[in-house]
């Protein structure tokens, strides 16, 4: 019998020690001067490292991203980047400049076109496009970072970090890195003697650097009520009366579009008139949408847990600590991983929008020439099949789908779309662009955002299709065609079958719900401008400059 191979069991720890020694050898302590950041990065990052660059939906470690992109590709190369959002030009520069060559990510909104080009030129290898929760999970499995570059609001002399209201992904990243022999470097907006609160303890953090400018934050969740259309008001009325009220949806998540902003702004008016206050929309997994302010002020909302924060909402959130999760210091604590978990397992409904939907109800926001990913929507917009607690909405949906003897419920997954987008692009299509995109990317699967078999309802200006009640693929298809209006897909419907579906309540038109489309005016919106939102907030909401007209 052979003796067991002798093996080094602490190579990660040793590697970490060598990296820290190289930094110390350059005279670098825990607090790094901004002008020496490249020295530090070149000392602690090795070719082939897996590096997590904190790019969130909103908060960006922009100084560290730009600094890494400015490092010498002869010293740092072959990096494998893991990050949830590819938002900044510098994120893509890493690949163009030859520092990195592999990417695992979740969302790349503004950089989607550049990313697609690099993929076609084979200068970047994409591991996978993940959902947020999935990526966080893999941080603790097979994508654990060697080095994490993160953003925090403030550091103290020891290196404790205060994250401010935009916690977002930071806890997940730091925990995975710090406890698996990795190096954590934080850019901070300010150094304080005493932090308002400690969000990350100093011994999980190796280096801090005071960035020349505060980190960039994108106001991603601000929807100007002035841009909400009458058609969106009509769809919101139908959704409230035909879904929220009927299922008694109390725990939910909203997408970030104008369609759902319209619902938020109809709660204090239309929904209140229907007597729904206290009966719907009490508990939310939601970023602090400014358009939710009127519903909060009207007493609709009991609790909101947030993935991140929103520019201009800090003072309002702080003053509404019964509703939002706030620290003893008064400022909000958000957390993307926990809020995603709440959205997946503790919500009874997700409602959002999409750019395309096919006849099976599959939907995607992927378009040709862009690789964007979907962030959290695929998790929020899915029915987790595992065991969970029962709630009235969940049970009702489950029984609609499987009959009175159903042994599990269903999460409501609602897609809300106008049949045509701008420039008369039909939302309902025979085949998603995702299939062409799959070929272009050479991917295993088409980039579908929400799978049709998870979708429970589709709301369009033509009505509501309840897919739970469909009993065959043909019925589903005709239910979808039946609310697809004057798109080619809609015009090809089987009229008799659609009328039958309407008789059975599977398709419901506005008039079936007792709604006159001519009542759908913007006068129903509790706020019709950003300034109205400021007034509702008692002056606590301070919108970013670009959303003001005063």
């Amino acid at each position: 019998m052979n003796a067991p191979l002798s093996r080094n069991w602490d190579s990660l720890r040793q590697s970490r020690r060598r990296r820290l020694e190289r930094a110390a050898g350059l005279g670098l302590g825990k607090a790094i001067p901004a002008e020496r950041i490249i020295d530090l990065l070149e000392a602690v990052i090795q070719p082939g490292d897996r590096v997590c660059l904190e790019g969130n939906n909103q908060k960006q470690a922009d100084f560290l991203a730009e600094s890494l992109a400015d490092c010498d590709p002869a010293r740092i190369n072959q990096l494998q980047m893991v990050q949830s959002v590819l938002a900044l030009p510098s994120h893509v520069d890493l690949f163009e400049r030859g520092l990195a060559n592999r990417l695992d990510f979740s969302f790349s909104g503004p950089q989607g076109a550049r990313l697609a080009k690099l993929v076609q030129e084979q200068r970047i290898e994409i591991g996978a496009i993940h959902t947020y929760l999935e990526l966080f999970g893999r941080y603790f499995m097979d994508l654990t970072p060697n080095v994490a570059l993160i953003a925090a609001q403030a550091a103290d002399a020891d290196g404790n970090l205060y994250l401010g209201p935009n916690t977002e992904d930071t806890p997940a990243i730091v925990e995975a890195t710090a406890f698996k022999g990795g190096i954590v470097i934080a850019q901070v907006n300010e150094r304080l003697d005493k932090l308002p609160r400690v969000d990350v303890p100093a011994d999980w953090v190796d280096f801090t650097v005071l960035a020349p400018k505060p980190n960039y934050i994108e106001p991603l969740f601000t929807r100007d009520p002035a841009q909400i259309t009458e058609v969106q008001v009509l769809m919101a009325m139908m959704a409230i009366k035909g879904i929220y009220a009927e299922y008694g949806v109390t725990r939910l998540n909203h997408g970030i579009g104008f369609d759902t902003a319209a619902i938020e702004l109809l709660l204090p008016t239309y929904a209140a008139d229907l007597g729904l206050k206290g009966k719907i929309c009490t508990h939310w997994a939601l970023n602090p949408h400014p358009t939710l302010i009127p519903a909060i002020e009207s007493g609709f909302v009991e609790s909101v847990h947030c993935f991140g924060s929103e520019v201009g909402m800090d003072a309002y959130i702080s003053a509404r600590s019964d509703v939002f999760f706030t620290g003893a210091d008064g400022s909000m604590r958000s957390n993307r991983a926990f809020s995603q978990t709440a959205g997946l397992y503790a919500c009874d409904m997700f409602i959002g929008s999409t750019l395309q939907m096919d006849l099976a109800g599959n939907s995607s926001t992927a378009t040709l020439g862009r690789i964007t990913g979907f962030g959290g929507a695929p998790n929020m917009g899915s029915d987790p099949h595992g065991r969970r607690h029962a709630s009235p909405a969940w049970l009702k949906a489950g029984r609609e789908a499987a009959g009175p003897n159903a042994i599990r419920g269903r999460k409501l997954v609602v897609q809300m779309v106008e049949t045509f987008r701008e420039h008369m692009a039909p939302v309902f299509v025979e085949e998603l662009d995702a299939w062409k995109l799959q070929k272009m990317m050479g991917a295993e699967l088409p980039p579908i955002m929400i799978y049709g078999d998870d979708v429970s309802h589709i709301v369009t200006e033509e009505g509501i299709a309840n897919l739970l009640l469909c009993r065959s693929p043909e019925e589903r298809e005709q239910a979808i065609r039946g609310v697809a209006g004057f798109t080619p897909v809609g015009m090809a419907r089987d009229k008799a079958m659609v009328e039958n579906l309407r008789d059975r309540g599977i398709i419901r038109r506005a008039e079936d719900l007792g709604i006159d489309p001519r009542q759908a005016t913007r006068d129903l919106l509790a706020a019709r401008s950003v300034k109205d939102l400021v007034r509702w907030s008692g002056g606590l909401y301070a919108p970013p400059s670009r959303f003001r007209n005063w």
Binding site: T419, F420, E422, M424, M491, R518
Partner: protein
Amino acid sequence: METLDFRFASKPVSRVADPALCGVVGSGNLEILIKTGSEPAACRVSIKTSARGFGDTWQAVLGSFAAGHAAGGTEIAINDMGATPAVVTLRLAQALAEYQGGAQ
């Protein structure tokens, strides 16, 4: 720009306010002018639209309107700046209600 003309059979409508105007020629919007026409059981529609190539869609939207409402005896003139069928349908309903004297 494209000019389209249609004629649809439709039940006669009783008018109060003649003519009636609804909407504005703004991006994604349209204006609709309803006047009294010469055929009591037909609705004539003439359209000037910035979006070319949607004649079939207009025909379907207007046909559905003429079948679902009493709009006979009218002439409808439309100036369109890329309104979606949803907006067209809504404006038609508003304009017809206005034509009938603002009845709800």
